[in-house]
């Protein structure tokens, strides 16, 4: 079967932080996770947007918690797409090692029956999922096959890269998304940890004192792992820290003039809950088209 934008939909969850997915692409959908302030569930990017979330976080007496979409949430989304005439659904989700979202999607796909839905554990998070969605979409535009998408997904898992830093490690630690025994915990200095996601888990890559040093570390990693070629796709996500956008944009333009910055988005409520204000993520993937 030839896959096209007309017969194939892409489903993301809200941790992809791809707020504009629906506006940009008629065949994309976002299934929200939930953020809970004092037990009140709010749908990420639906009931609460990024700006509203950081305002509420600043005023909150206790940290919010998050929960994954239910299989029913995914099932409703899949059914709507099927009813709209889509014959194939690629459902792309954040690493199953950090969230049960993937499991919910798998369970909904089973419930739907047939083999219309292909659920992918991207083994990464945030805008990396959006970069993968955009890469699949470029292939749908010219016509593709399941095999081509599968091999793209495999290569994406191996080659996509995310580096990020957080305002403080407190949020990752309280949310249990990073091991307490990590070497970067416990410093009395104001250290900016440089983190990455590898094989689905968050790992420390380096440590930097001050934002400038963190940025230099971003650049060092970016330059070491990329070439200046067409098809190099970049995304930038920030948690209430827009000052990072310009400096990373400048960095990319200087270091890799041929790269395309696909996406610049604020981190939504769910990723924001676990990364905390002041976090910034830098994502890249060398695509062939």
């Amino acid at each position: 079967m030839e896959l096209t934008r007309q017969n194939t939909a892409i489903v993301l969850d809200s941790t992809s932080d791809f707020v504009e997915a629906r506006e940009r692409h008629a065949n994309m959908r976002i299934v929200p996770l939930y953020v809970l302030f004092d037990g009140e569930p709010l749908r990420d990017q639906v009931d609460i947007d990024s700006a509203g979330f950081y305002e509420r976080l600043a005023a909150a007496s206790s940290l919010p918690t998050t929960s994954q979409p239910t299989p029913a949430d995914f099932l409703a989304c899949y059914r709507e797409l099927v009813a709209g005439g889509f014959e194939r659904i690629w459902s792309l989700h954040l690493t199953s090692k950090l969230s049960g979202t993937y499991e919910s999607a798998v369970s909904a796909a089973g419930e739907l029956g047939g083999d219309r839905v292909r659920v992918v554990d991207t083994e990464t998070a945030s805008l990396a999922c959006a970069l993968l969605a955009e890469a699949i979409d470029r292939r749908l535009e010219r016509g593709t096959t399941d095999e081509e998408v599968e091999s793209l997904v495999d290569r994406f898992r191996r080659e996509n890269r995310v580096v990020f830093t957080v305002g403080t490690l407190e949020y990752l630690q309280k949310g249990g998304r990073i091991g307490k025994g990590q070497a970067l915990a416990g410093s009395l200095l104001n250290v900016k940890p440089i983190l990455s996601v590898e094989d689905g888990v968050i790992i420390p890559v380096a440590r930097a004192r001050g934002r400038q040093k963190a940025l230099q570390e971003f650049e060092r990693l970016f330059v070491a792992e990329t070439e200046d070629r067409d098809g190099l796709r970049v995304a930038i996500a920030h948690a209430n820290a827009p000052e990072w956008i310009d400096v990373i944009t400048t960095l990319v333009a200087r270091a890799r003039p041929k790269a395309t910055i696909d996406l610049v988005e604020p981190l939504g409520a769910v990723v924001g809950t676990h990364a905390g204000p002041g976090s910034v993520g830098f994502f890249w993937f060398q695509d062939e088209i």
């Binding site: 416990g186 410093s187 009395l188 200095l189 104001n190 250290v191 440590r207 004192r209 001050g210 934002r211 400038q212 040093k213």
Partner: protein, 532 residues
């Protein structure tokens, strides 16, 4: 007299004279920072040798000389103490092999001491202890002096040493700027004068008066060789305070007798507090309820804390490389530990750790390769000596300030190979601009910067940079310099007398650089800074 008894007598006399001149030597400290501890370091190093001889039962002269060499090395504190220990080592080697000591042997011993000292220092500077020992050796090598008896030959060498000390300002810019002679040189000559008077049995000449006004506060900043801080009041009639002062003098140090002929307050650091009270009772009535005897060092407790730290380091999981650091200020020690230092030795600008203490730390760390961060120029030589004494593979990274030490520790990775660590840490040290803000302890012109007593003085990369009565003016000048150098991140470490964290944050916002504030707790330096 046995060799051991003679060694005890001479070493004891040497220590006694160094103690007599200790405060004067401390006051000669040229840097306008209240860290004058050259006299204290020489006294503590000498005291280590004396204590070892007191506990020794060795009779064979070569073995005695070997023991003295070993003890001198281990007891050495501060750069002056380390250089002294190398001189003692060189001399002891010669004296240990000689059957009798005459002018000829003395000449050989002084020459060996000089050679050993010059070898110990990477870049020997003239106008220092090195010059003094070298000139004393040269004097003793003159044909007419070689033929003399040892006492006469030593007297000639000492006279030449006095002359060399007088000429040190001609050789060293820093001394000339501050209008002083070299402190270490004075200490060395007085030490040998003590030996000479031990030989002849003549009483030691009285040391010159130290003009500096002493207060209880200032003397508590010094490290004492004695254990008990003893304070009491004496009431009487027509008491002679000068005589009381003179009678207490031999008991210890940090002596203050204040008051008048009817009531006097005595303050003394001594190992014999009861003897001090007896002397007080000899001239008046001592109010027993108001006698304070404080165990300053509470040696037992201090030793136990130290052993606990050593034990914890030894029990920790083995690593490829271990890190030992030296720092003053509880906050700084915590920061260094949080950055991977297995052991942080207390000390720095004042209270320099001994070679022996650094060696204990190196030995305790559960790693066969060890990196040492002295974090102060006064600790570097002792660290290097400890590295040489150790059987482990030890590398000293020449950090001169705590900010440099923190930058180095930040780059430390316990599981990486030694060479990779050394390289990364040296790059880190080179990439920071380190500055210290202190208060000038006297009017002085240093490196072309004139500072009045009490003014805030910034020292940038080891050189005086700016001085002003306002710490904010000094900070402004430093931040402008950091900006010119393209630095974007500044860490401030608060010490005693620092502005509050809030004040600092407020004054330093909108500077175009990121500024972090930590609590170091170091004395003498209200602020330490590093810019990257």
């Amino acid at each position: 007299m046995s060799d051991l008894a003679l060694a005890r007598l001479l070493a004891g006399s040497a220590l006694e004279n160094v103690e007599l001149h200790r405060r004067r030597v401390n006051a000669l400290n040229v840097y306008p920072v209240p860290d004058g501890d050259t006299g204290t370091n020489l006294a503590l190093t000498m005291r280590g040798i004396v204590d070892a001889l007191e506990g020794s039962t060795v009779t064979a002269r070569p073995q005695l000389a070997a023991d003295v060499q070993r003890e001198a090395t281990m007891a050495a504190k501060g750069n002056s103490g380390v250089i002294l220990s190398t001189i003692v080592r060189g001399m002891a080697r010669v004296l240990g092999d000689a059957s009798t000591v005459d002018g000829e042997v003395l000449a050989q011993a002084l020459r060996a001491g000089a050679t050993s000292a010059y070898h110990a220092v990477k870049v020997p500077a003239e106008g220092t202890m090195l010059t003094v020992i070298r000139e004393m050796a040269e004097e003793s090598e003159r044909p007419d002096v070689r033929r003399l008896e040892v006492e006469a030959a030593l007297a000639r060498a000492i006279a030449r040493g006095d002359d060399a000390v007088r000429r040190t300002p001609e050789m060293l810019e820093k001394l000339r700027e501050s209008g002083v002679v070299d402190a270490g040189g004075v200490g060395l000559v007085e030490l040998l004068r003590g030996v000479l008077h031990g030989l002849t049995g003549e009483p030691l000449p009285a040391p010159p008066e130290v003009s500096e006004e002493l207060t209880e506060e200032s003397i508590h900043h010094e490290e004492s060789a004695y254990r008990y801080c003893t304070v009491f009041l004496v009431e009487g009639r027509a008491m002679d305070l000068d005589a009381l002062h003179a009678s207490l003098e031999p008991l210890g140090d940090s002596l203050l007798v204040t008051g008048d002929a009817s009531v006097a307050k005595v303050h003394v650091h001594t190992d014999e507090p009861e003897d001090a009270l007896v002397l007080g009772r000899a001239v008046g009535v001592v109010d027993d309820d108001r006698v304070e005897i404080g165990d300053m060092r509470s040696q037992a407790a201090e030793r136990e804390r130290w052993l606990t730290q050593l034990h914890a380091a030894a029990q920790a999981a083995a690593t490829e490389v271990g890190l030992v650091a030296v720092a003053q200020g509880a906050g700084n020690r915590e920061i260094l530990r949080s950055e991977g230092a297995a052991i942080v030795i207390e000390g720095g600008q004042t209270m320099n750790p001994s070679v022996g203490q650094i060696l204990e730390a190196i030995t305790a760390v559960n790693a066969e390769r060890v990196i040492v961060l002295p974090n102060n120029p006064n600790v570097r030589l002792a660290s290097e000596n400890a590295a040489e004494e150790s059987t482990k593979d030890v590398h000293v990274i020449a950090t001169d300030t705590i900010p440099e030490g923190i930058a180095a520790a930040f780059a430390f990775a316990a599981d990486e190979p030694l060479a990779a660590n050394v390289e990364a840490m040296e790059v880190a040290v080179a990439s920071v601009l380190a500055a210290e803000i202190t208060r000038a302890s006297r009017d002085a012109t240093v490196d072309g910067v004139t500072a009045a007593e009490g003014e805030f003085l910034a020292i940038l990369e080891g050189r005086a940079f700016v001085a002003d009565p306002s710490i904010w003016v000094v900070l402004d000048a430093l931040f402008e310099h950091f900006a010119r150098e393209g630095k974007t991140y500044v860490q401030l470490i608060r010490g005693e007398g620092a502005p509050t964290e809030d004040e600092l944050r407020e004054r330093l916002s909108d500077r175009g650089v990121e500024a972090d504030v930590s609590d170091g707790g170091q004395p003498h330096y209200p602020l330490l800074l590093s810019a990257e």
